[in-house]
């Protein structure tokens, strides 16, 4: 269990992270959401001990996270970087050694991961010869090679094509099933929705939403109704039950308070023409974020 208790980080007068309290249970995936400058990377750096928090406590399994445990921690920084002139294998072996692995084990793991990511022939290539996306795969390997118990991934999916995103997602899910606690940050709400049990949305250093995904959605108390029709549905804007109206191609998305309100909308649409779609669905994280922060983050 990774526990952050009232953690605050100030840079001079600037508050980068403001009284953040979260708990990340074992063998779970935890998502950090937030725009640029929300404090995600700073939080990760504090968890890793690269920065000291100004106030508060960070503990992992009742202890601190120090360099003596670095073999249990994996980290994929937001700013990707490897030695451009070194060969992939030499590089990975070096980084694995720094995480306390011996050369033989490291070699075995490198083979496994290169095969898995379908790039076994990169082993003897220099990193600078690889494409950005492939460098990122190598970097990901360097974060998981030593079978960490705690894996911190800062924006792991940015800059990858959809095929590689899927490949990485599969790998992450598998690691979680094998017992690794994974903390990751993302710009992309859908990745978090897909992968995480729990999450935290940060805004300007403060957590605005925090908890289990399902509970967050349930307690949000609002639903979306998706409507697609052959006629203009903009008159729904005037309905009292509609909290938020958004026009989409061939229809609209209306936000309502509770499921029963959908009935009002359904009746309003009666007799106006052909309705191709009428669906009540859970709110997306995006909706929650906009609601809590008052603005879109993208």
């Amino acid at each position: 269990m990774l526990k952050l208790d009232n953690v605050t980080k100030k840079f001079g007068s600037f508050v980068a992270v403001d009284s953040l309290s979260i708990e990340i249970p074992e063998k779970q995936m935890f998502g950090f959401l937030g725009g640029n400058g929300a404090g995600k990377t700073t939080t990760f750096r504090m968890i890793l001990g690269l920065l000291d928090q100004t106030e508060g406590e960070i503990s992992w399994n009742e202890g601190g996270i120090g360099y003596d445990q670095s073999h249990l921690v994996g980290y994929l920084p937001e700013e990707r970087g490897l030695y451009p002139k070194l060969k992939v294998e030499d590089q990975l072996v070096y980084l694995a050694k720094l995480r306390g692995m011996n050369k033989q084990d490291a070699r075995g793991e490198i083979n496994y991961w290169l095969e898995r990511f379908k790039v076994p022939d990169y082993r003897t290539k220099k990193v600078e010869e690889l494409s950005k996306g492939n460098q990122q795969k190598i970097q990901f390997i360097s974060a998981v090679l030593h079978k960490p118990k705690l894996l911190i991934l800062d924006e792991p999916f940015t800059g990858l094509d959809p095929v590689n995103v899927e490949m990485l997602k599969e790998a992450v899910k598998e690691l979680k099933e094998k017992g690794t606690s994974i903390v990751f940050s993302s710009h992309r709400m859908e990745h978090v929705e897909e992968l995480c049990e729990s999450l935290c949305i940060m805004h300007k250093g403060a957590p605005v939403v925090h908890g289990k995904l399902k509970e967050i959605k349930r307690s949000f108390g609002k639903k979306n109704v998706q409507i697609e029709a052959d006629f203009d549905v903009s008159f729904l804007k005037e309905e009292e039950v509609v909290l938020h109206y958004k026009a989409v191609p061939e229809g609209a998305t209306c936000q309502i308070h509770k499921e029963e309100d959908a009935q009002v909308l359904f009746e309003a649409l009666q007799g106006k023409g052909f309705v191709r779609k009428f669906e009540v669905e859970e709110p997306s994280l995006e909706d929650i974020f906009i609601e809590k922060v008052g603005e879109s983050y993208e």
């Binding site: 840079f11 001079g12 750096r45 690269l50 000291d52 360099y67 920084p77 970087g81 030695y83």
Partner: protein
């Protein structure tokens, strides 16, 4: 501690294998072999020309034959001076010496040559001087023995009365050794300081640094790197020294003046021990500074710039040391020898050419070790913040920002 060695060996093997290292080492070895065999090399190039050097002489007897005997390549010229000059211009002779009777009937010379090569000029002048002296002696009825006695150099010896003081010969030897060592230190600090700063900045600019310092503490990382580069330096200088020894063996001449002068055939181990100690301490002091400076910039292009203050320190230290060579006990030299960044150069020079009480030497070690620890502690903090920082303002601003990053509030 284990990771310290991982970083150390990684730094070491990568450096040793790098093209830059192999090329500079090879070039230096070639230069050393050349320098130690400079006489042989020079002979190869000028061997033929030397024999050809010839001087035409136009003089009356008995001066003519005396000069012909004492000037190498001297040859009595039968004919007009104008023709002889022409032959000089044509390259048949290197020069022409015309001797006439000057004041008081003593011989006076006029030397014509195409080019002034001071050595022939000097030889001719000396030979003529001798001839003139003999002529003058004859005029004054001074016997040959008397003349020989007059021209013998005076016997002169110096003895230092202070116990343990170095004799003039020892002092000269020490000066040469100290000078060589100073130069080696100067070179090493500049070379390896630059390497360290560049390595740190490279790791920063390629952004691999964040992975490194999430695995290993920045302090371990910094000192692992510094020690790794130190070993590279020691290996490199080991190769240089070895090639120096090989070069001296190859030249196998006892008249090799440089080696004689430095007493390398019979080295003073005391001064070499001091040299090694000051070299290592000085290296660690400057290397720590270089690592810290390197951590403050994010682009490799800026690394050169950021080490400029360090380079200036080295240059100033070097000049203090050079002036200490001739004046080891001056007050400003004594003062400078306790300023940590100057100590390895200046104190070492003072020990080399002067007499230093033990307590001063020990004190200087203390100053150096203290400074290294202090710089290490402060440097580690700056380094820790600096490696996470990617802004590009002035050095001073960056330092403050780095310190703030590593602070709690």
């Amino acid at each position: 501690m284990n990771k310290f060695f991982v970083i150390l060996s990684h730094t070491y093997t990568n450096r040793i294998k790098s093209k830059a290292f192999i090329i500079t080492t090879a070039l230096m070895v070639a230069a050393i072999l050349l320098m130690t065999n400079i006489q042989t090399v020079m002979e190869v190039f000028q061997g033929d020309e030397d024999e050809k050097s010839s001087v035409a002489l136009i003089a009356d007897e008995p001066e003519a034959s005396a000069l012909a005997a004492s000037i190498p390549g001297g040859e009595i010229y039968e004919g007009e001076a104008e023709d002889a000059k022409k032959s000089v211009r044509d390259g048949k002779f290197d020069g022409l010496l015309v001797v006439e009777k000057g004041e008081a009937g003593l011989p006076a010379g006029h030397y014509y040559t195409d080019e002034f090569t001071s050595s022939t000029d000097q030889e001719v002048r000396q030979a003529l001087q001798q001839v003139k002296m003999n002529a003058a002696a004859r005029q004054q009825n001074i016997s040959g023995e008397a003349l020989a006695e007059i021209s013998t150099p005076v016997e002169f010896e110096t003895t230092a009365l202070e116990e343990g003081a170095k004799s003039e010969e020892e002092l000269n030897q020490a000066r040469v050794i100290v000078y060589i060592m100073l130069f080696v230190m100067y070179l090493a600090v500049i070379m390896y300081g630059n390497i360290i700063a560049t390595e740190v900045t490279t790791e920063k600019s390629s952004r691999v640094m964040e992975i490194l310092i999430s695995s290993v503490s920045p302090v371990t990382q910094m000192f692992g790197k510094i020690t790794g580069v130190a070993l590279v330096g020691l290996s490199q200088f080991g190769i240089f020294i070895l090639s120096g020894i090989v070069g001296i063996r190859m030249s196998d001449s006892s008249e090799n003046s440089l080696i004689q002068m430095a007493g390398l055939s019979n080295p003073d181990w005391g001064i070499i021990t001091y040299a090694v100690i000051y070299f290592l301490l000085g290296y660690f002091l400057y290397a720590t500074l270089a690592a810290v400076l390197g951590s403050l910039v994010s682009r490799v292009e800026d690394a050169q710039q950021t080490v400029t203050p360090m380079m200036m320190l080295v240059v100033v230290a070097f000049f203090f040391a050079i002036s200490a060579l001739s004046n080891p006990n001056a007050f400003y030299i004594a003062a400078a020898s306790y300023i940590p960044f100057f100590t390895p150069f200046v104190m070492f020079t003072r020990i080399g050419v002067g007499e230093m009480p033990v307590w001063e030497v020990v004190l200087s070690f203390g100053v150096l070790v203290g400074a290294i620890i202090l710089l290490g502690v402060i440097g580690a903090r700056i380094y820790r913040g600096g490696v996470l920082m990617y802004s590009s303002s002035s050095l001073w601003k960056n330092t403050k920002e780095a310190l703030q990053l590593s602070k709690k509030e």
